[in-house]
Structures are given as structure tokens and as C-alpha cells.
């Protein structure tokens, strides 16, 4: 016998409305494939068929700790990493700490952090942040994933946005056109 142990990231979704859920799952299907979906609410046969077809793993009988304390916090380390170089196409930054990026993140570049993310120049590339807070200025080309959710389309102006995670809700607000330094 062989026993192995894995840590799995679980994505909990409470279904209130079949159509709304399907729209969400369709839009984020690529992303959801990477998680185990824990479904709450009414998992209709249509939903089940869709997830099977898309090969998204799911379950609805798993009891987990209430997610007040986000599981990411286990991996997050304290401290701030500052990146004072352009992140160019083809480059990938993976960080567990908070990140402060001073220069651009260009199209074709990827930045992934389990901490908070602040970027002072334009973002054309791909950002994945699992922290509680982001401040950034995404262009229309950017793709921004915050705690597993693609929020790119919620930011359609080329200005700074402030994004927070509060009580498992993502709050996005316009911050400023440009950041004024003294």
C-alpha cells in the first residue's frame, strides 16, 4: 500500500441560481479546473453535467472549517518584496510575500503572489494575487485574478483601482487616475 498526502485548494461556491452559476463557471472554467469545487445549495443535473463535461472536479459533501481564516494564510509569509525592474514578456515572478512593483508589468509577463499586491505603473500582463488587498492600474490587455476570481472586466478604465477582500467578498473601487507623489 502507498499513502500520499496532498494539500488541495478548495473553491467554495454557494449556488443560488442555476443560470448565474453556469455563467460564472463558463467564464472561469479554465481557472476552476485547478481547484476542487465545493458546492453548496442546489446542484441541479444541468450543473452536474456541465461540470463533468468541462472536467471540473467538484463535491458537495465535504465539511470544512468556516473560511473566516483564509487557507492561503498558511502559506503566506510576512515581509515585502520590492521589484524595481520592468517585468518583461516571458518573465514570471512567484512570491509568497507582499509585493510592491515599481515598474510596468508588460504583456506576456506573469506575477503571482500569495500576499498583497501593489503596482505603481501600468499592468499589461497577467496578475494572480491571493492576498487581501491590491492597488493597481490595469490596461485593457491585463488579466487580473484575485483570490481565484477573474476580475479583469470589472476594471474597464485605465486608472488605479483598489481591490479588497472582506468577509469573502471582493470589493473593487476606483482609486485615482494617477498617483501623485508629493
Amino acid at each position: 500500500m502507498q499513502v500520499k498526502q496532498y494539500s488541495v485548494k478548495v473553491f467554495e461556491v454557494t449556488i443560488e441560481n442555476e443560470e448565474e452559476f453556469l455563467a460564472f463557471a463558463r467564464k472561469n472554467s479554465l481557472l476552476l479546473k485547478r481547484y476542487l469545487l465545493l458546492l453548496k445549495g442546489d446542484v441541479t443535473p444541468t450543473i452536474e453535467a456541465f461540470l463533468e463535461e468541462e472536467e471540473i472536479a467538484f463535491t458537495h459533501n465535504l465539511s470544512l472549517q468556516p473560511p473566516n481564516d483564509k487557507p492561503q494564510h498558511f502559506t503566506k509569509q510576512s515581509g515585502l518584496r520590492i521589484i524595481d525592474q520592468l517585468v518583461r514578456s516571458g518573465q514570471e515572478i512567484i512570491e509568497k510575500r507582499d509585493l510592491l512593483v515599481l515598474k510596468r508589468v508588460n504583456s506576456g509577463a506573469t506575477v503571482h503572489t500569495d500576499g498583497n499586491f501593489i503596482a505603481l505603473s501600468s499592468i499589461d500582463g497577467h496578475i494572480e494575487c491571493n492576498g487581501d488587498f491590491m492597488l493597481l492600474k490595469p490596461s485593457s490587455k491585463a488579466s487580473i485574478i484575485f483570490n481565484g476570481v477573474d476580475i479583469s472586466e470589472a476594471m474597464d478604465e485605465e486608472i488605479f483601482y483598489k481591490i479588497r477582500l472582506e468577509n469573502n467578498e471582493i470589493l473593487i473601487s476606483k482609486y485615482a487616475k494617477d498617483i501623485q507623489w508629493a
Binding site: 518583461r88 514578456s89 516571458g90 518573465q91 515598474k103 510596468r104 508588460n106 504583456s107 506576456g108 499589461d124
Partner: protein
């Protein structure tokens, strides 16, 4: 000790070979002993652009394999004093370039020449890597268009990661040439502005070259535009070559249609 310039772009067909040929002639005109080397193994065309295709006997592979000496393979340009050319081999086998052999060749060239231009193949594979390996500087060639700029961004990152100098903690000079700038398209907003390109790539601007029909005529006749009188692209390359030789030449607006109109009027005078 010579200075090595690798001419790179990532994306194909943006104007690397045209830029290599014209800048090599330009620096030779300024009195630098210059050699331009075709690193595009299997797809050589620098020989044609320079009008030297009939004079190629030995190529870079022959030198690296020891079948010919460097001086046997170097072709001296008859039109241009100070200018030499080393051809790529036309065999499809790209594996012929290996790091050690590249280093030996470049060391030899640095002994003999002031300026060494290496015309890189497109892409980011073997041939490209060998071109940047021992470069002191890279000249990044872009067209004002998104895919060219993204590919350029990628190769700039690779220069920092892979070149010998960068690995030793030394700085590799990075210079930008924006070419095939079409004032009409810039005016219509269909081309990316210089300001935006510099913002994205954030390297030093070496010069801007306008779209110019004569570039294509020139490659057919084997007489690069820098040798033509009154060619806007040729004049742009000549300014860039001077800048490479440390001469302070002001930047010229090649983007506004009016300025181009003015140039065209002057061109008319010579006809």
C-alpha cells in the same frame, strides 16, 4: 579591442538584416574598421543585401570547423573601405554553431575590428542565443506594432538572463531602433507612438527609420539605402551610425506627414 553589437528583434521580418547592413556601412564610412556577420544560418541573405553574394567562397561554418581561416572567409567590400563581411552558411544544419566556437570566432574578430555587427536570426532559439552570447551591446529592432514590441520585450529579458556579460554582472548596452515608421498610419493612430514604445520597453532610443520604398529596391540591386542620395531611410541609418560612433546627432522627426512632405520636396530638387 572591438565592440560587439548583436542586432536582434524576436519577431521575424522587422528589419534586422537591413539595419545590420546599413549600420555596418555607416560606421565604416565614419572610419571604423567594421565587420558584419550573418548569424542567420541556413537563411542567409545579408550577402544579397550587401551585393556580395557572388564573392562568398567560405562561410562562418567553414571558419568554425577549421576548414578555412578567418582571413580567407572575410570578404572585403570593394565599394566601402573599412568594411568586411562574413557570410552564413546556407546549410540547413543550425547545430553547427556551438558556444566554444562562437567565442573563439568573436574573440578573433574583436582583435581585428573596431565594430562587429552580428545579424541575428528571428526567434529566441539557438541561433539567437549564440548571437547575444558575447555581445557588448544589443540593437533591438522593432516596428511600431504590438506583436513586434512584445517579442522585443521578450528578447530584452533574455539578453539579461542569458548573455555572458549579464551573467558576469556587467551591463549589456541596449539600444532601440524603431523602423518602418509610416507617418500616415501614425497620424491615423494605427501605429504605436515612439513615446509608448519607449514606455513599454524602457531602453535607450538609438534612432527612428521611416518606411521607404527604396529599401526594397536597394535589396534587389545590392546597394543598401545608406548609399543612396536622398533616401529618408538611408539618412536615418546614417544618423544612427554616427550616433554609434559617438557623434551627437539630433533626433529628426520622421513621424509627421508635413516633415515628410518637406523631405519629398527637397528630394524632388535632385531629380
Amino acid at each position: 579591442m572591438g565592440i560587439v553589437f548583436a542586432v536582434i528583434s524576436g519577431k521575424g521580418g522587422v528589419g534586422k538584416t537591413t539595419t545590420s547592413a546599413n549600420l555596418a556601412i555607416g560606421t565604416a564610412i565614419e572610419g571604423k574598421k567594421t565587420v558584419v556577420v550573418d548569424f542567420d544560418i541556413g537563411q542567409r541573405n545579408l550577402d544579397m543585401i550587401l551585393g556580395l553574394e557572388n564573392r562568398v567562397v567560405y562561410d562562418i561554418t567553414n571558419v568554425m570547423d577549421g576548414d578555412a581561416t578567418l582571413s580567407q572567409a572575410l570578404i572585403k567590400d570593394k565599394r566601402q573601405e573599412n568594411l568586411y563581411f562574413l557570410a552564413a552558411s546556407q546549410t540547413k544544419d543550425k547545430s553547427v554553431l556551438d558556444r566554444e566556437k562562437v567565442k573563439k570566432l568573436i574573440d578573433q574578430l574583436k582583435e581585428e575590428f573596431d565594430y562587429i555587427f552580428l545579424d541575428s536570426p528571428a526567434g529566441i532559439e539557438g541561433g539567437f542565443e549564440h548571437t547575444i552570447l558575447y555581445a557588448d551591446n544589443v540593437i533591438v529592432v522593432v516596428n511600431p506594432e504590438v506583436s513586434s514590441i512584445r517579442d522585443a520585450d521578450r528578447v530584452i529579458g533574455l539578453v539579461d538572463a542569458k548573455s555572458h556579460k549579464a551573467k558576469e554582472g556587467e551591463r549589456v548596452g541596449k539600444f532601440l531602433v524603431i523602423t518602418r515608421i509610416d507617418p500616415d498610419l501614425i497620424e491615423k493612430g494605427e501605429m504605436i507612438s515612439t513615446e509608448d514604445i519607449l514606455d513599454i520597453l524602457s531602453i535607450n532610443l538609438l534612432g527612428k527609420v521611416p518606411e521607404d520604398k527604396r529599401v526594397i529596391d536597394a535589396s534587389n540591386t545590392g546597394k543598401p539605402v545608406i548609399l543612396h542620395e536622398s533616401s529618408p531611410a538611408g539618412e536615418a541609418y546614417s544618423r544612427i551610425a554616427k550616433r554609434l560612433c559617438g557623434i551627437d546627432v539630433p533626433f529628426v522627426d520622421v513621424e509627421s506627414p508635413e516633415v515628410r512632405g518637406f523631405l519629398q520636396k527637397i528630394t524632388g530638387l535632385f531629380k
